[in-house]
Symmetry: C2
Amino acid sequence: MPTVRGMADDAPGRAAALIALDWGSTSFRAWLLDGAGAPLDSIRSADGALTVSGPADPARTRAAAFEETFTRTCRPWLDEHPGVPVLCAGMAGSNHGWAEAGYLDVPADLAGLARHLTVVPAGDSVVHLVPGLRVTGPDPDVMRGEEVQLLGALAAANDGGGNAGEAAVDDGGDRAGTVVLPGTHSKWVHLADGGSRVAGFTTAMTGELYALLMRDSIIGRLATEPDVARATEVSDAFVRGLDAEAERGDERGLPALLFTARPLALAGRFDPAEVADYVSGLLIGAEVRHALREHPADVVVLCGPPATADRYRAALERGGAAVRAVGEDAAARGLWRVALDAGLAQPATTDTPTTEEQTA
Amino acid sequence: MPTVRGMADDAPGRAAALIALDWGSTSFRAWLLDGAGAPLDSIRSADGALTVSGPADPARTRAAAFEETFTRTCRPWLDEHPGVPVLCAGMAGSNHGWAEAGYLDVPADLAGLARHLTVVPAGDSVVHLVPGLRVTGPDPDVMRGEEVQLLGALAAANDGGGNAGEAAVDDGGDRAGTVVLPGTHSKWVHLADGGSRVAGFTTAMTGELYALLMRDSIIGRLATEPDVARATEVSDAFVRGLDAEAERGDERGLPALLFTARPLALAGRFDPAEVADYVSGLLIGAEVRHALREHPADVVVLCGPPATADRYRAALERGGAAVRAVGEDAAARGLWRVALDAGLAQPATTDTPTTEEQTA
């Protein structure tokens, strides 16, 4: 993936208030935000935290590599807007990243993120790293980067940024609100106190399992590329996977159910171009069905890229949950929220459209 | 893996009756058997069917590559014992192998294997390929190579080759006998008619999932090599994996349960050297628990290499099944059985020890 920039048409007239970074394991995303939190410009590259520096490098070498990547990639913004504050979430804040940004222990108020930033120097700037969230106890879990997506998703959902006519995140009843952030490692977050407090979360490595199976397994070897025209659809093969998992997953178990892709394709029961979607249906089906069993939810807020979100929506609705989908650029919105809470960015007093209105 | 030979000490005085090949996707195993089916010599190499020839090669090129590999590897035997019959099971008989050896449709009598051999020329010899087994209908499955391991395992179990004092394979009651052949793709075989007939079977890709996760996933990245001294043991970490899967697999599902290895290791709840065994426990636990749920069994015949068999035994006994373990060299014994049934090999009338007695 080359570095890609996307500048807003009306950017030249607006003042920059924040550089917001979502620096994950395998990707780097950056936004230049104005005083209303709306994007003036954006950058996306493949310089993920795993690529920038190896875990065996000494801390000083690692920090220098992160600083160099950041200053090189964001050079035009830093030159044009000297002194603009920088806020960064994601694996850049891990113990193998730029600097260890720590964790807030769950249950945790999301407002606490802004009170626990870690500062690292970067040339003439300083970068503020957002902490992750951690579940301790018998059933530990961690997230890093998703906490700002979560903040942004909640802001979008509560502002009506989701699809209209559905209930709010915290429905005020016995069931706490649930947010799912699908991905390589999907996060299922359970909320309390009207959505301001994370009660707990769990991770499912669904996306990574799918990638491993399609790239290197005996199933991947007999799969051909899915029809590109249908790649964003919830295809028949995906629904067959969902159905098979719902009907037989408890009886047969995933290690056996996944293998069925091979004899079904060999027997001509579906086309090699459908194998990937069928396997996706089995895996997303298993993830969603178990997540709803462990934490029943009437409404689930869903935040991810469109093609993935469509598949999760199908699985969630099959499981009886109503879905409130919000846009995938929740990270920028969440970072803006943290920057405001921390006093890093000052909201402009103009009537420029807000991020909320733009992404709704 | 280099080519490895292992000649019996008393081999020079005994006549050769059969070359038996178990030619799988990733390994080549060959035995030179005497007139009692006992090994005179053996060869093992990494020239698996996937290595010998690509699926895109024309059939003629593929056949030539298999013939060359066979004649080169078994040259000393072919020179010393001209005209010795050759019998071959495994992926060499697939549509991407030496020649397509077809399938017997299940339910199938195991005695039928010997009546459906496919003949291919190999220099001055001919090679007889054993067919695979196939389940048709709504829930198809295939095996190729395991059918001769199954024959050998049943012969060993019924001759008392398993651990003493346990019930026979077919217990004569309502429950048919079950045989499990653990591996990259574990086969669970359900028998009828006193063990002579395969009623059905299913495959679980447990071994392949484990290899993918350990080699390429975020879990594999934080795992260190297991302690070699404990590699054949049912370790504490393996049992923790079994326990976690049994207690929480239905609620949490495998995509989420597998990920727990990461936060547990990050939290210091186990050592990086224990990650692999914990993941093995989760996967084998899921396979075995679901297989016993789908087809309840009081006694299961277990046939695999010792370290793997120990783990499956622990999972099976945890699930309430008694285990009858038989040696892993069942393939040679099964191939000998097919060769006798087909009239390819003639049993010697000496009192040389039989394979049964040697492997018991």
